[in-house]
């Protein structure tokens, strides 16, 4: 059984189509990055997966319909939707009491262990914590839940780089065990490149690109082409071309590695570069990036 299975997932708000027929299968134990421009439908798709919004089409999360079985599903799924959604009036100690009271999979000792590594005091109210500390608290709570699926929707938005780094480090070291499934959306793609096992680009409600990170690394290359080899390189049909500090950088998909190495400096592209290249191929957006 897949962790998430969707067929023809669709959601419209009036005449606006937020999610336009997504087919999706996420296996257990994957860390999937969902990348897309603002308004691409990421959050709507995640809301459907979390049972926060109704939808058309077929969708099963851990074998359940999230819309009709949200409460049951939330025993096995946890999520951080956006930063700073913890109630501002609650005390950290009350939060621990409450979670221990209502959540069958919440391990209070574990949460206290995570909190002990931070400067968060149990007596503090959420409103007294800095933005970074609120995220630390939320992460500590979520990581103390023995869930099968964790969904993170822009979990580090507006945090400084130290907190962001720490966030993904502890997620990998203290939480991910190869059996849990994690889905994350973020605009800070460079920070999750080494975290992900799978990558998916979504645009205007559709999945426009998907790959595993192993395939990503063996298939996509970026070459900073030596000027005298430029014509030769262009003949190999790069996906995308851009100029950086006077050098021409070409992005290739499934080209021969040794052939490319002869043309200039070879490296694995960043997710951001691939994103720009893929989005450049999208019909209505082509004028910006592709030329």
């Amino acid at each position: 059984m897949a962790c998430i299975e969707a067929r023809g997932l669709r959601k419209a708000f009036g005449s606006t189509i937020a999610v336009d027929g997504i087919d999706l299968r996420v296996e257990e134990g994957r860390i999937l990055g969902l990348i897309g421009p603002n308004g691409a439908g990421k959050t709507t798709a995640l809301n459907a997966i979390l049972g926060l919004t109704s939808f058309e089409g077929e969708l099963k999360v851990l074998g359940r319909d999230p819309w009709s079985e949200r409460e049951r599903l939330m025993r096995d799924v946890s999520f951080i939707a956006d930063v700073a959604v913890l109630p501002r009036w609650i005390r950290v100690s009350q939060m621990l009491d409450y979670m221990a009271g209502i959540h069958p999979r919440f391990d209070r000792a574990k949460a206290e262990g995570f909190l002990a590594r931070t400067t968060i005091k149990h007596i503090s109210r959420v409103r007294e914590l800095s933005k970074g500390m609120v995220v630390q608290l939320h992460l500590a709570l979520v990581m103390a839940i023995d869930a099968k699926l964790l969904v993170l929707d822009e979990p580090t938005l507006g945090l400084d780089i130290l907190f962001r780094k720490q966030f993904y480090d502890s997620l990998l070291n203290d939480y991910f065990d190869g059996r849990r499934t994690i889905i994350v959306t973020t605009h800070q793609v460079e920070e999750i490149q080494n975290v992900l096992t799978d990558l998916m680009f979504i645009d205007r409600g559709r999945i426009v690109f998907r790959t595993s990170m192993e395939d990503f690394e063996s298939r996509y290359f970026e070459v900073a082409v030596n000027p005298d080899r430029l014509e030769q390189a262009r003949a190999l049909k790069p996906m995308h071309e851009r100029q950086v500090l006077g050098r021409t950088i070409l992005l290739f998909s499934s080209a021969d590695r040794s052939q490319l190495a002869a043309l200039g400096d070879l490296r694995t592209p960043s997710i951001a570069d691939l994103f720009v290249a893929v989005m450049g191929h999208q019909p209505a957006r082509s004028q910006g990036a592709a030329q």
Partner: protein, 310 residues
């Protein structure tokens, strides 16, 4: 995507789920505690009002006792009034405080969690919308009246202690005062009135406020009041009747006919009030009110579920 990469074990998705379940009463219990953590005014306001009133009563006790002495020269009824008025006032003040607190609580109940987006956190937990709505409804309908009863009980008995001390100090009879006051009966009537009228009888109002709070994006208070006024005005214009206004007024004023047979007055004095609980239990007004409340709450559950979080 990548179906080949990880072998999937069906069993691992199902196995521990069966054992770890939180019983529903426990979830409700923590949901209620959560409400009191968030809305401390639920108990702070009545306690503060009671403390201030008790202080005022203690400060003015000699004046009060002089009034009682003065009244005893005139008529028994005047004396009774002089003795019981502060106690009626105390109970009435707490009831009024309770209504204010309950209305503001209900208005903010669902609007607040959307405003600060904490609904996104609450919905990430295995607590159903029904449990959440139920917890928020139990507060004004049951727990707040019980809490007010306890505060009012403590307040009235403290007042009696203060009065007794003052009476003894001035060499007057405590037993006459006690006999006139009939404090145990009075306490009972206050509690009965709070629970039955302010909780159960008023339940449809709180259900309505909760429903509007779940529905309105802003200004829930106006949305709760103005449409009702509009309907009343419309009835007046179209049919030149005021059935709805009369019905609402009767519901609001405590359904004197159903609950206690003494209309018009603050029905807490033992000499003039008779509890007619059985009559109340079988009055259609009670059950119609509860049915309406249930319908409003079901609407609130649905709204909380369907309203998009973002």
């Amino acid at each position: 995507m990548n179906t080949h990469a990880n072998a999937v074990h069906d069993s691992s998705l199902e196995s521990p789920a069966a054992v770890s379940v939180v019983p529903p009463p426990q979830t409700l219990y923590w949901s209620l505690r959560r409400e009191f953590w968030e809305n401390r005014s639920l108990y702070i306001a009545p306690l503060a009002v009671a403390a201030v009133f008790l202080l005022g009563f203690a400060v003015s006790i000699s004046h009060t006792l002089r009034r009682i002495r003065g009244a005893s020269l005139l008529a028994a009824e005047k004396q009774l009034q002089a003795i019981t008025t502060p106690y009626d006032l105390a109970a009435g003040l707490l009831m009024f405080t309770g209504i204010l607190v309950a209305v503001f609580y209900c208005i903010d109940a669902f609007q607040g969690e959307r405003r600060d987006r904490s609904i996104l956190f609450w919905k990430s937990l295995p607590v159903s919308d029904t449990t959440t709505v139920l917890a928020k409804a139990v507060i004004p309908i049951l727990l707040l009246p019980l809490l007010l009863s306890a505060v009012s009980f403590a307040l009235q008995w403290s007042m009696f202690l203060v009065a007794s001390a003052a009476l003894s100090a001035t060499g007057q009879s405590v037993s006459t005062y006690w006999a006139q006051l009939a404090l145990p009966q009075m306490s009972f009537l206050v509690i009965y009135h709070l629970v039955v009228v302010h909780g159960i009888w008023h339940a449809p109002f709180y259900g309505w406020f909760l429903l509007v709070s779940a529905w309105a994006r802003r200004m829930a208070f106006l949305w709760a009041i103005l449409p009702v006024l509009a309907v009343v005005a419309l009835e007046r214009l179209l049919f030149n009747t005021s059935n709805i206004a009369v019905m609402l007024g009767r519901r609001l004023s405590g359904g004197a006919a159903e609950v206690m047979p003494m209309p018009g007055t603050m029905p807490i004095h033992p000499a003039t009030t008779h509890v007619t609980f059985l009559h109340f239990l079988f009055s259609p007004g009670l059950w119609i009110g509860l049915a309406v409340t249930a319908a409003f709450l079901a609407g609130a559950v649905r709204l909380r579920r369907y309203r998009d979080p973002n």
